[in-house]
Amino acid sequence: MRAGNDLQRPLFHGSDWNFDILQRVYDAIKQIAHEDLHLDTYTNQLEIISAEQMLDAYSSIGMPLMYGHWSYGKRFLQEEQLYRKGHMGLAYELVINSNPCICYLMEGNTAALQTLVIAHAAFGHNHFFKNNQLFRQWTDASAILTYLDFAKNYVRQCEERHGVAAVERVLDAAHALMDQGVFRYRRPGRLSAEQEKARERERVAHAERTFNDLWRTLPSFAFKTAPSEATAGQSTEEENILYFIEKNSPILEPWQREIVRIVRFLAQYFYPQRQTKMMNEGCATFVHYTITNLMFERGLIEEGHMLEIIQNHSEVIFQPGFNDLRYGGLNPYALGFEMMRDIQRICTEPTAEDRDWFPEIAGKGAWLDVLLDAWASHRDESFIRQFLSPKLIRKMRLFALVDDASDSYVEVTAIHDDRGYESVRSALADSYDITTHQPDIQVIGADLAGDRCLRLRHKIRNGVMLQEESRDATLRHLATLWGYEVRLIGVDGQSGQTVYERSTKAVAEKS
């Protein structure tokens, strides 16, 4: 850090901004981000948008391009309602994991707020997207925009060809299965809009080349493709239901398969974001905090503006207690930021306790390296397991409980004391493990040579059941994609006993 006499002139006065100021601010932040914090970012593309455009962006799950679907309209109406009634402020920014990295900045932000937001989104999130191993392995930032463009056009063409209702049916069904449309253990192939288009073109061209009107006159049963030896014989266990449908559904037309594929790719694209929400926000918050403070120290930001930044910052990381009316779950910004500040503290001013708990990093001083490495290689769950310190557990007064539906009480199992640290930490880490939130449902078989019944297994963990109405509706959706009976078997995770069995035949009779 530079000496105090090295003060520079403030980058802006007053709260108004213009593109000149933004550019100066951006350049200053960039210098600090790259030189002081060693961040490594994609090229930034910063777009100034209005409130309506922000609402638009919200409702298409934050993407600049999206195919049309009624659920996005619903989301828009919801958000708009909340916004107009003043229940919800709009985000100051929105950032997209793409290369170049697109950040939306709201036009209504003051100059100080834009400074905060640029540091937060264009450098914090951007660095995380580019370096975190989950994003590196599972998503392809440079391809997403062109892929979305392909998807949007493809869906539109399908609507023209096959009618909006037919496309909607497939999309509705595929959306219902989005959570089960992800490869959790093996890395998916890279997406490329060019390849997709080429594949599609080739298929159409082949159909046109080999078109023979005579085929149409054949009785239709001749068309039913018998499952090949290979398909019938192969193991049909599959964790990714959408993938299984796309490859094996006996009834889907090629265009329907393509739409299922599009939804599946999107689900996969968002999968890492859900696993790293807390770290991602923590990283961005830590980065904007550090950068704006450095800017202030160097005289680039005036005192008044710094106060505004600090006020916004503290609103973002506000964490009410569990019995506060404002409590709405653990604030990912707060937890992430506190943990990263804590790492910084452990590295530079460790206590004896820290030396016990974190011998590898305590007092080593190189906090930035530790953080850069954590940002690159962890997800929420492993990050907490690795770095949540007793000091922070005490500070946030975290405590673990067990809620068993069969009991009339909730039992406190651990609090912030010597006996409790380990279990609080591991319980918190578990709660960030995405698999505990999502039911474990997999395809266990499909009798392609016989009655074509698709069998799914729900492995019940700790007796947590599925919401029945939603489950039946989802099964119906699944049946529209599969075309034949779908049977879901609920198996207890520990004992392996069958707890329930649900078939689309029964669902149909009931409704």
Binding site: Y26, I48, D179, D403, V410, I415, S431, N462
Partner: protein, 436 residues
């Protein structure tokens, strides 16, 4: 490198299409919601924004998700000030409630509330309704014209230049007249400057002269043959086409005599407000004539019709006479589509009902495209008057006309929630919507 892009001027409403998709999906249910709402809200309020709620059955997005309050879960919460390990907290009460929320992984499938704007409300309301038998498509005094693209022309205003066509012509002409290209000239200039730097032997000088001559010739030719010549320019041609302008008039006849109590007047007014909105929305050029009557009838303006009070005896035929007079005066039958809607409680002076029948049969009905009669009855009388054959003298006279001439349609109205179904019944597109 960074780019700032100002997107504020980009088109808004990017999600308009999705919004419409959603409304289409919820359409049926929304209509039912409105029908219910008509009971309670003042009907004039239809003409404004509305918050509506639709149930999750249509707009829900199901998925496999965990049900709340099943199984065993581990929870971590912040802000512990009072508990130590082993404490048991009863599930009811504040703490349990808070935790219930935390524990439920799935948001409850709440009904979904949102706001429809005025346009959407009215669209929904009047979907599938129209004035029946709009046959006289006579053109009204002033013709409306609408311009339409049709081909190209060589004259026009600069704003209509068709660049594509113009440049095509320009390119064709340049090729035909062998206009030297920039590259050609550059090449020659380059050669010249090369030769100029060269040692000046006679051969070179000669070559240089030749080149300079060529350059001069080409430059001259470039000047002669313009890049874009006025000859090339084409304009989009627009053609004005007459738009048939249908003329329609709606007569609203309302009984405001003493026998019409507050309730009856309110129902009649609600009906006419709906009719008024419908006409304003769907038929820009429809004229509306308001006639109210006691023992005598008068043409009044909109405000008087809806808001002012009057009292007196009842002679229904006076309104029909007045209507005939106005038609004769202002609306020639061969040019106008004439519609009428009449609301009454069915009370009339003795013998006047027969006179009404005579007027209608004697020519008034023949002039009308459609005549809707709405009789407002007591809710308690609904059962008595269930069959159409049973009714007040006026009802009976009208019924005998209606049997002969089906363009007279009659319905009864007893409670506010009937208004909308009755309205739909009267103005449904043929064969599309029945009496709900």
């Amino acid at each position: 490198m960074s780019h700032f892009i100002d997107r504020r001027l980009n088109p808004k409403d990017k999600s308009l299409g999705n919004r419409q998709r959603f409304l289409r999906r919820a359409r049926e249910e929304l209509r039912q919601v409105f029908n219910k709402r008509l009971k309670s809200t003042p009907i004039a309020d239809v003409d404004s924004d509305h918050a509506v709620t639709v149930s999750s059955s249509i707009t829900g997005e199901p998925s496999f998700r965990h049900a709340a309050a099943t199984g065993r879960r581990n929870i971590v919460l912040p802000g512990n000030t009072m508990y130590s390990a082993g404490d048991r907290i009863p599930k009811h009460g504040q703490v349990g409630g808070q935790m219930g929320r935390q524990a439920g992984d799935s948001a409850p499938d709440d009904d979904f509330q949102f706001v429809l704007n005025r346009e959407e409300v009215l669209d929904l309301f009047f979907e599938g309704l129209e004035l029946p038998d709009m046959v006289k498509l006579h053109l009204k005094e002033v013709l409306a014209f609408k311009s339409r693209r049709s081909g190209y022309t060589t004259t026009g205003t600069p704003s209509n230049i068709n660049v594509r066509r113009t440049m095509r012509n320009s390119l064709g002409r340049r090729i035909a007249l062998r206009r030297p290209s920039r590259d050609e000239l550059d090449e020659i200039s380059r050669q010249i400057s090369e030769l100029e730097n060269h040692e000046q032997t006679p051969a070179i000088r000669l070559k240089l002269l030749k080149l300079q001559e060529t350059l001069r010739r080409l430059t001259h030719r470039r000047k002669l043959v313009a890049y874009v010549d006025p000859l090339d320019i084409r304009y989009n041609r627009f053609e004005a086409r007459p738009v048939p302008n249908t003329a329609a008039v709606m007569f609203c006849l309302m009984d405001v005599s003493g026998s019409m109590g507050e309730r009856e007047k309110d129902l009649a007014k609600r009906f006419f407000v709906l009719l008024h909105l419908f006409l304003k929305r769907r038929y820009e050029r429809t004229e509306i004539v308001f006639i109210r009557h006691t023992h005598e009838a008068k043409v009044v303006d909109e405000d008087t019709f809806f808001y002012s009070m009057q009292s007196g005896g009842t002679i229904v035929s006076s309104a029909l006479d007045e209507m005939q007079r106005v038609i004769a005066e202002k609306y020639p039958v061969n040019e106008w589509n004439i519609y009428a809607a009449q609301a009454s409680d069915g009370d009339n002076s003795p013998y006047d009902s027969n006179r009404c029948q005579e007027i209608l049969e004697g020519g008034l009905l023949a002039k009308c495209q459609y005549f809707a009669y709405v009789e407002i009855i007591d809710a308690r009388e609904r059962d008595i008057f269930r069959s159409a054959t049973n009714g007040t003298p006026l009802w009976n006279s009208y019924r005998s006309v209606s049997e002969k001439l089906p363009r007279l349609q009659m319905v009864r109205l007893a409670v506010p929630e009937d208004i909308y179904p009755v309205f739909r019944h009267l103005f449904a597109k043929h064969g599309s919507v029945g009496l709900g």
